[in-house]
């Protein structure tokens, strides 16, 4: 068994060096007008003691021109979390800028300049909050030094506010623009003299700031991947092999070529098993004058496929196979105490099997990319979460050095993990190279549903033992699902530590015996990560089983969870992990410990907000679950009303602790959206596979929640904190499904062991 943590690539403990940038540095960044005062930043990873472990070459992040206009680079992809607003906002707040005069420019993909840009893992705020503050504070320091010199006053008597330098004693104020030339000559502040603002001085951080793209979005001017265009661009649609790993035997394009506007038909020899995320699937592309001609002609191509070894695969049979596997002894991945002894001495044993399906991402903008390949270089425009991954994949495919590849990042019309895979961008580049003119690849919805990197199906078995003193004495969690690791390396047939670290290895409850075991599950399709990843099934099993344990102990579910969390303490899991380690979302567990006290606080808060314990009419009830993911503590209560097999959701309550809250509005919006996303997972979404082929085609069969079925009111409480901030994109999702299932049980007496919930079954 190989263990490849899929999330290990991110740099930890990001620090920054700041320097005065040259005009040349600045001109490297597309779309910027150089002038005035420019600062660059080196991002680097370092050890706990501050020793640099990876140095990255300079980037440029901030300029102030003589008119006082501030330009800040956004180096993370915007897919709806608000990160394109929130990180520049942090710089602007420390700087004391006039936010209304700040321009944000999207960075191209360049690891040397920007460090890791892969926008996933609820990672951006966690890693870049401090460097961005330091960036803003450095610029403030230098402007103040320049102003103080000119005014002949002491720098410590000056401050910045709303785009001005201010000398309080004399009442002197002048805009930043007046000092930009002089500021460029000021010596950089020694790190120990760089003063960051006290939280009480913040004007943007910790408040509700509208996203910068708001007006462009509501007027249709925002540029997404689908909107990118270059001169002489043609349009492509691709008929891809319906089975992963299949190849083209032969094809007939006569009918396709007869469609008016069709220019070329081009076969694509895709990747082999394992597919990885870098290679496209095999297929036949039509390139045409417009999207419609390409799609229409694509549908007319007749292909004979060699479907390959996955042609016999079926998801229903796979689940049955895993149900048989899961009752055996597995590979022990975490062990505390003696579970077998706990089972022997148990007064009551509860045992259940939990099944969850494949899911597709279903972001409303399908994958789309534009590529220009000429003169030994490549430039693309794409809705990508991971521009550097795309750049490397393109360089590899085209045989170019990465310096010859430029990846421009558009807005992303939703992503949820799908758009961190560059396969669709590579398709565009392959076709552009073959054609000799720019090509845009447009995926249809059917393409997207049929050829996603799916959230893997899962089968889990949990055995819980309760002793004669009514204590939970043992917890045995068996897990089987195709690993994301198998998408890269077919020999991976058990979950990785990275996957198990999402709610299974980090089972935080203070009980004497814990045993987590994993089982073989081979992969037959492309498996990938979807918003909150393996936390989804693992929180479902853990969160619903805890509710059952509470019932068996004759305890209120919330009192049960608080009791099981035990004394306030910081947990490290590593001593109980026989091989490998607890990844803690790639953070040092000493810097970001698992603190039971913080979890108890959010549980108590959500109970108070929801009025937990109140009585409902028959058919209505509340359910609870709590789950830490991506270092953010989340507790959730869902209220349901069940009529027949119909479930409506009048209220959802969340309490969360994400450390310092940066943009209150976007934190709330992520949780509101998380509840909606969770409702789709719990009640609607399921991908099934027969003969190696996805059975659903479009949003009629692959269902996501619509407005009438959606939670009516979503209440979000954010714990006040000055602790290090953590991400909020994914943490709303995991606790939601078990909370909903527990509410359904409280309302109907029916326990849920299979997703999506089907009360009619």
């Amino acid at each position: 068994m190989k263990i490849i943590p899929p999330f290990e690539k991110k740099p930890a403990n990001v620090r920054s060096d700041i320097f005065v940038a040259s005009r040349r540095d600045f001109l490297k960044v597309g779309g910027l007008v150089a002038g005035g005062f420019m600062l660059g930043v080196n991002f680097y990873s370092c050890t706990e003691k501050g020793k640099k472990i990876a140095s990255l070459t300079p980037s440029v992040y901030l300029s102030i021109n003589p008119d006082g206009e501030v330009t800040i680079i956004a180096h993370r992809s915007e897919m709806g979390t608000g990160i394109r607003t929130s990180l520049p906002m942090v710089v602007a707040d420390e700087l004391g800028a006039d936010w209304s005069k700040v321009h944000v420019v999207q960075a191209e993909g360049d690891e040397k300049k920007y460090g890791n840009q892969n926008t996933d893992g609820s990672f951006s705020i966690r890693q870049f909050y401090l460097p961005m503050r330091q960036a803003g504070a450095t610029a403030r320091y230098m402007l103040i030094q320049a102003a103080a010199k000119e005014w002949n006053v002491k720098p410590e008597e000056c401050d910045t506010d709303n785009g001005q330098v201010v000398h309080k004693a004399s009442g002197k104020t002048a805009p930043f623009g007046d000092f930009v030339e002089a500021a460029g000559g000021v010596a950089m502040p020694p790190p120990d003299q760089l003063k960051l603002k006290d939280p009480g001085q913040f004007k943007l951080i910790g408040r509700e700031t509208p996203i910068i793209d708001l007006h462009d979005i509501v007027t249709g001017k925002a540029v997404f991947g689908i909107d990118a265009a270059v001169d002489n661009m043609k349009y492509a649609a691709i008929k891809r092999c319906p089975v992963v790993g299949g190849k083209i035997k032969s094809y007939n394009a006569d009918k396709a070529m007869a469609v008016a506007g069709v220019l070329k038909v081009i076969p694509i020899n895709g990747g082999d098993i394992p597919m990885t995320i870098f290679k496209p699937l095999s297929g036949v592309a039509v390139v045409a004058d417009n999207t419609w001609a390409a799609i229409k002609a694509r549908d007319l191509i007749e292909v004979e496929w060699d479907l390959g070894p996955n042609a016999g695969y079926g998801s229903a049979a796979h689940i049955e196979e895993l149900k048989k596997e899961i009752v055996k002894e597995g590979t022990v991945r975490r062990a505390r105490g003696d579970f077998d002894q706990a089972k022997k001495n148990a007064k009551k044993i509860i045992e259940h099997t939990y099944v969850a399906p494949y899911m597709a991402h279903g972001m409303i903008e399908t994958p789309t990319a534009v590529a220009v390949v000429k003169n030994g270089s490549c430039e693309v425009w794409a809705c990508t979460q991971n521009p550097q991954g795309a750049r490397d994949a393109l360089a590899q495919e085209l045989g170019l050095s990465s310096e010859k590849v430029r990846v421009n990042v558009t807005l992303l019309g939703g992503a949820f993990g799908r758009k961190s895979k560059p396969d669709f961008i590579v398709e565009a580049a392959m076709l552009a190279k073959e054609c000799g003119f720019p090509v845009k690849v447009q995926w249809t919805r059917e393409d997207d549903i049929h050829h996603d990197f799916y959230h893997a199906l899962s089968v889990q078995r949990v055995v819980a033992t309760i002793d004669a003193n009514n204590k939970l004495s043992g917890w045995n969690h068996h897990i089987a699902y195709p690993s994301i690791g198998a998408t890269f390396d077919a020999s991976v047939i058990q979950p990785t530590d990275g996957e198990l670290g999402q709610g299974a290895l980090d089972f935080p409850y203070d009980i004497p015996a814990i045993k987590v075991e994993t089982h073989d599950a081979t992969s037959h399709i492309r498996v990938g990560w979807l918003r909150s990843v393996r936390n989804i099934p693992q929180a479902f099993a853990v969160g619903t089983m805890l509710d059952e344990i509470a019932e068996a102990r004759k305890m209120d579910p919330i009192a049960n969870s608080i009791d099981l969390l035990g004394a306030d303490r910081s947990i490290t899991f590593n001593s109980e992990i026989p091989k490998g380690s607890y990844p803690n979302y790639n953070e040092d567990i000493a810097r970001y410990p698992w603190e039971t006290g913080r979890m108890k606080k959010v549980i108590e808060r959500v109970a108070r907000d929801a009025g937990w314990g109140k009585k409902f009419a028959k058919g209505s009830a509340m359910g609870f679950a709590a789950h830490k993911s991506f270092l953010t503590y989340t507790a959730c209560i869902v209220e349901v009303k069940v009529e027949g097999s119909q479930i409506t959701i009048p209220n959802v309550y969340y309490a969360l602790d994400c450390g310092t809250p940066v943009n209150l509005d976007r934190i709330k919006s992520q949780f509101e959206g998380g509840a909606q996303f969770g409702t789709s997972i719990a009640l609607k979404s399921e991908i099934t596979i027969k003969n190696g082929q996805v059975e659903q085609n479009n949003f009629d069969a692959y269902k996501i929640i619509r407005m009438p079925e959606s939670p009516k009111q979503i209440h979000v409480s954010i714990v006040e904190s000055q602790d290090k901030p953590t991400g909020v994109g994914e943490p709303p999702v995991p606790a939601y499904t078990p909370a909903l299932c527990n509410a359904v049980y409280a309302a109907t007496g029916k326990r849920i062991y299979k997703l999506p919930v089907d009360l009619g079954a």
Binding site: G82, T219, I226, A260, I364, E365, G414, Q670, G673
Partner: protein
Amino acid sequence: MPKYSIQVNGSTHDVDVLEDMPLLWVLRDILGMKGTKFGCGRALCGACTVHLNDTAIRSCSIPVSAIGQSKITTIEGLSEKGDHPLQQAWEKHIVPQCGYCQTGRIMNAAALLKRNPKPSEEDIEQAMQGNLCRCGTYNRIKLAIQSATGQTVMG
């Protein structure tokens, strides 16, 4: 290829395209009006919603040959300055997350308000159920529509 003369946002456009080309691709690829989005191609998600006269339609599923002399309005033509009451309410309540589905959604809501200026919560849910949002902005959409119609907002 046949030629069509269609009315979009108050102007006449002559286009020379396949007769079964959906209006969506005429708008996007031929006329360069990209505020109307592709989402599903089968009238299941609402991202491509425009007005045909005063009715909301899914432009992905109506061929150009069926438009005739009907007046098409897209998000680009909804208001001169981007200040339709719904656009203002969308901004006030910071509705969008990724923003991709919102133009089709605003067009759908604008058609609703033309026929029902004070929609109830249920009216809104029924009228908007054809518009999918994967980010999950449904609650704020309801708030924005109610606030745009001068109604007391829920919650």
